[in-house]
């Protein structure tokens, strides 16, 4: 399992993480959307999270360490210097 | 082994060790504490484990936890503690975890008379916890039998993956007799069936030819789930009737199809006796004396001594009831197992001899009932 390391901001252009949501497990509690520090996520009309600003993901892992249903995961991206 | 003077409670301890018990968790309560004291001394000598828990609820819980860990486990208590253990007797029955619960009965209810004998918990042993479940309960009539039936209790609990209750009364528990215990090597010991299937195939509650699925100890590669909720063959909670009903059928069947082995009874002159005395525990000793006296007057008297109280010895009672016109049932309670005898043999035939004041039913009381016109 990839060690979850604190994401240290570094001067770069693109996102550092790619957010994947599992609709079947997500109950739409809204925690990830509410507390994502950079607004990557938003609620759709069924109040389920969708990725609206993928480029803003800093791979801080708030969402996938707080999802009560393990229904979201942040895959680290190779960061282009 | 050489004969020596031994107390009933102590014999229970030696029986447990001979049966392979390596874990005891209990709480002090008269008249059973000698069992705990003996095992606190003897278990660590053979690498076994003894713990005194904070109450009887915790004691049986710890035994079940240890049994899940692979050790044969026992607790011993008396009425008040036995009442506290009921929920976990039900849990052990539901989760099919082997364990032995010794209840050295004392006069109840409540604090009652801690140092006086009683057989007042017989129905509690059968119906004490909530819900329907099978149970095995044994009751010795001597210090030697206290040893033998403790071994038997472990063997039944291991073979059938069930809690087994060993009902002593304070008389058997505290009295001392000359006893020659068998050599431990000569004692027949049954161990639970351990599984050997690949881990992903293992079903802790799956069907088995014997109706008793093998039980893997925790930590040996079989990571399964145990719950007090109704569960499916994998042990996961279920509300599906097509999983609950088969479980109920199997769990009762695993006992009922083995009554031949489980129901232990001693019969003396019951073939064509017209009067039969049905007794158990310490009262069976008074009955033996009364029967001897009655036989002196040419009466055809027989005695059935029940070593297994639950499941009830229906077949035996039904058989002897054919010839007997009178069945005397002496008990140190106000009539408990007598209800079962009456259910089988009919109330008209049964003469109850009861006392619940802490004293033994005397031979004279039984003799009077035998000869009553």
């Amino acid at each position: 399992m990839p060690a979850i390391t604190e994401a240290r901001p570094a001067a770069h252009k693109g996102p550092r993480g790619r957010v994947v949501i599992f609709g079947t497990w997500c109950k739409g509690c809204g925690l990830c959307v509410e507390f994502c520090p950079t607004g990557v996520l938003a609620l759709d009309q069924d109040s389920h999270p969708i990725v609206v600003a993928p480029e803003k993901c800093t791979a801080c892992h708030w969402c996938d360490t707080h999802c009560p249903d393990l229904a979201i995961v942040v895959q680290p991206l190779e960061v282009a210097r | 082994m050489t004969a020596r003077l031994m107390q009933g409670n102590e014999a229970v301890g030696w029986g447990a060790l001979a049966a392979g018990c390596r874990f005891y968790a209990g709480y002090p309560i008269t008249p059973s504490t000698e069992i705990a004291e003996m095992l606190a001394r003897e278990l660590p000598k053979i690498g076994g484990k003894f713990i005194q828990m904070e109450d009887e609820i915790a004691s049986l819980a710890a035994c079940i936890g240890a049994s899940v860990g692979g050790l044969k486990a026992m607790t011993a208590t008396s009425g008040p503690g036995f009442s506290l253990m009921q929920e976990h007797i039900g849990y052990a029955a539901m989760t099919e975890v082997p364990c032995v619960v010794v209840n050295v009965q004392r006069l109840g209810p409540s604090t009652g008379q801690p140092t006086s004998g009683s057989q007042g918990d017989v129905m509690q042993a059968r119906w004490g916890t909530h819900g329907d479940h099978p149970i095995i309960a044994l009751s010795p009539t001597s210090v030697r039998q206290a040893f033998d039936l403790t071994v038997q209790a472990f063997n039944f609990s291991e073979r059938y993956r069930t809690p087994v209750i060993l009902l002593l009364d304070e008389v058997i528990g505290h009295m001392r007799e000359k006893v020659e215990l068998p050599d431990p090597a000569a004692v027949r010991v049954v161990d639970r069936e351990i599984t050997s299937v690949p881990a992903e195939w293992y079903r802790p509650y799956g069907d088995a030819p014997s109706d008793v699925p093998p039980m893997a100890p925790f930590g040996t590669g079989y990571r399964y789930h145990i719950t007090g909720l109704f569960h499916d063959p994998a042990g996961y909670p279920t509300q599906r009737l097509d999983e609950i009903d088969p479980w109920i059928d199997r769990v009762f069947r695993k006992i009922e199809r083995n009554l031949g082995e489980i129901v232990l009874v001693e019969e003396d002159g019951t073939e064509e006796a017209n009067t039969i005395v049905v007794a158990y525990g310490a009262t069976a000793r008074s009955a033996q004396h009364a029967v001897k006296l009655a036989r002196g007057q040419r009466a055809k008297i027989g005695q059935v001594t029940l070593l297994t109280l639950w499941p009830f010895a229906e077949a035996v009672i039904e058989r002897v009831a054919h010839t007997a016109r009178r069945i005397v049932v002496p008990e140190m309670n106000l009539g408990q197992l007598a209800l079962e005898v009456e259910r089988i043999a009919g109330r008209r035939k049964v003469v109850r001899v009861n006392r619940a004041d802490g004293e033994m039913v005397t031979p004279m009381m039984i003799l009077e009932a035998i000869e009553r016109k």
Binding site: M1, P2, I4, T24, W25, C26, K27, G28, C29, G30, L31, E34, F35, H61, T65, H66, C67, P68, D69, L70, A71, I72, V73, Q75 | R22, P44, I46, G47, G48, K49, I51, M53, E54, D55, I57, A58, A61, A62, C63, I64, G65, A66, S67, V68, G69, G70, L71, Y91, I194, G219, T220, R223, Y224, H225, I226, T227, G228, L229, Y236, P237
Partner: protein, 287 residues
Amino acid sequence: MSKDEHSAYNYLRHTKKFPNVWCSGCGIGIVMSALIRAIDRIGLAKDDVAVISGIGCTGRMPVYLDFNTMHTTHGRALAFATGLKFARPELKVIVIMGDGDALAIGGNHFIHAARRNIGLTAIVVNNSIYGMTGGQHSPTTPLGSRAATAPYGNIEPPFPVCELAAAAGAAYVARSTVYHAVELDRYIEQAIRKNGFSLVEAVSYCHTTFGRMNKLGPAVEMMRRLKENSVTKAAAEKLAPSERPDVIVRGVFRDEDRPEYTALYDEVVRRAQGAAGASVRSAGGAG
């Protein structure tokens, strides 16, 4: 494991139905996730881990986890776990409880397990209510709060969970919240590594019962309150006693080395066997 999968999946029972049974937004799932991260970081073999629970919403956690798991009776998980740990000292035994489970009906076993300092990791998910049975007040429900059985306001002062465990003798005591999930998994990791009785209080919330009855809003609101209404131990020490009386203080309150029960019993076995020097690991495993 495909790259899209959550790293926790390696520890879930794939034969179990997901998503889990808890209400949308419930903190118990966050505690489970933190527990998995702690176990994964330590690198424990699944066979060597046992997770034991009592009755309540927390009781349904172990069945989801690919370890040796037991769902026992209300309040008694620590007693079952004591028996298992004592019989198999080599197992890492983790006990999941709710606040009512651990401190009301389970209070007696809680203080004695701590007093014995037997090697168990107790995680109390403290949402200050009996959630499963519909919102009755528990031993940690705040004074004055509404509950199904305190319709006029709770008049019973709550237990200080960590102080109780420490006073009873626990070797490790820490508190965090489900908002501080990464801090929580650190404390759980330390608790599991600890040789002795360790307690982690995971402050959570129940928006379904407690939140509704006390008009505290949905899960996101109650989560926000955990963020804004908690401070670290260091920060708390700077606060005047009367300042922020009901702030949640997070931190490690005790981390001491105390003789562990099963190790002490190995001494008993040695003394009993009169073996002068030979150390005898007591016979665990099949009886």
